[in-house]
């Protein structure tokens, strides 16, 4: 997965970049299955590998599929990235160990959800129960975000056809070019 990500940095053909990004998502989905998150893996496989790739390809078709030039100033960003990474790795030294059942994250509300989901809702899938019932406000907000994003896309490029055809003679082709 990290190799795929590194290949993404080097490639300049955007078509290959988008395909690799799809592969990256699929690998992430496999990783989620290994980490017990079957619902999340399902979503990632459908969304990341499917819809995102199609949307990216659509954008490539509308714009261009070749990156112009490799970045010239490599050193400064690289230094910044390495420095940030080093600080973050230093920060992980105090984190709970992987798979530790006594980590703080597992001691707060999670046991409550696991215990109460059966009696409260009668559903075996805890993820669905928490998503829709216990944290219904969150999900309402998320759905509102998706709605807003779709409306935003509609506003930005949804109506570009008709106005542009009217404007074209006046503005010459400067805007379209």
């Amino acid at each position: 997965m990290a190799v795929t990500a590194l290949a993404l940095v080097r490639l300049r053909n955007l078509f290959a970049v988008v395909m690799l990004a799809g592969m990256f998502s699929l690998l992430a989905a496999v990783l989620y299955v290994v980490l017990d998150a079957v619902d999340v893996a399902f979503t990632e496989a459908a969304v990341g590998a499917g819809i995102t790739t199609v949307l990216m390809l659509g954008t490539l078709a509308l714009t261009t599929s070749e990156e112009k030039a490799a970045p010239r100033k490599i050193l400064a960003p690289l230094l910044l990235v390495v420095a940030t990474g080093a600080v973050l790795i230093y920060g992980t030294m105090d984190m709970p160990r992987y798979g530790d059942p006594n980590a703080p994250i597992h001691r707060h509300v999670a046991p409550y959800y696991l215990e109460r989901t059966g009696p409260d809702t009668g559903l075996p899938n805890v993820v669905t129960a928490v998503l829709a019932s216990y944290r219904g406000y969150d999900t309402l907000g998320e759905v509102a975000v998706i709605f807003t994003a779709a409306v935003g896309v509609l506003i930005l490029i949804g109506r570009s056809r008709r106005p542009r055809k009217k404007r074209q003679p006046a503005d010459k082709k400067k805007a379209a070019q």
Binding site: V38, D39, A41, F42, T43, A46, V47, G50, I51, V54, L55, G58, T59, A61, L62, P119, D120, T121, G122, L123, P124, N125, V127, T128, A129, L131, A132, S133, G136, Y137, T139, L140, V143, A144, I146, F147, A149, A150, V153, L154, I157, G158, S160, R161, R164
Partner: protein, 138 residues
């Protein structure tokens, strides 16, 4: 288009199972992996496949703009109105226990409705966004 015979036949075979699978994921999400978010995306991908194979104009006839936009809005509306229904029946906002006599059945009903709202919004959003991208001038 003649050379796409294989693609057309295979996609015609595939699209109904994809939609059926989306509905299965939608309503089986309470018991196994799945739910509104995944179902919405899978449902939308059936339309996207249709649009890719048969052309965007044909797909627009199947799913006109007003239909997907209505779907997009209705999902959110359904979600919020389930919450308001909880208030009207004497509970808190988004409290499903009051939706039926038995709190457990109420919870189940509420979750199913909510998931349906989520699925409608997600699929509406994905179809809308894809069609807008595909409909641009080159």
């Amino acid at each position: 288009m003649i050379f796409k015979a294989v693609l057309r036949v295979v996609s015609k075979l595939l699209i109904p199972p994809i939609m059926l699978f989306a509905l299965y994921v939608q309503f089986h999400g309470d018991f196994g992996p799945g739910g509104g978010f995944q179902a919405g995306v899978i449902f939308a991908s059936a339309f996207i496949l249709y649009a890719l194979i048969f052309g965007i104009d044909n797909a627009r006839k199947v799913a006109p703009a007003w239909a997907t936009r209505t779907l997009l809005s209705l999902g959110l509306l359904l979600y919020a109105s389930v919450g308001v229904a909880g208030i009207l029946l004497g509970g808190n906002f988004l409290d499903y226990s009051v939706l039926a006599e038995d709190p457990v059945i109420g919870q189940h009903l509420g979750i199913t409705l909510i998931e349906f709202g989520v699925g409608a919004t997600v699929s509406g959003a994905m179809i809308t966004i894809f069609f807008i991208f595909a409909h641009q001038d080159r």
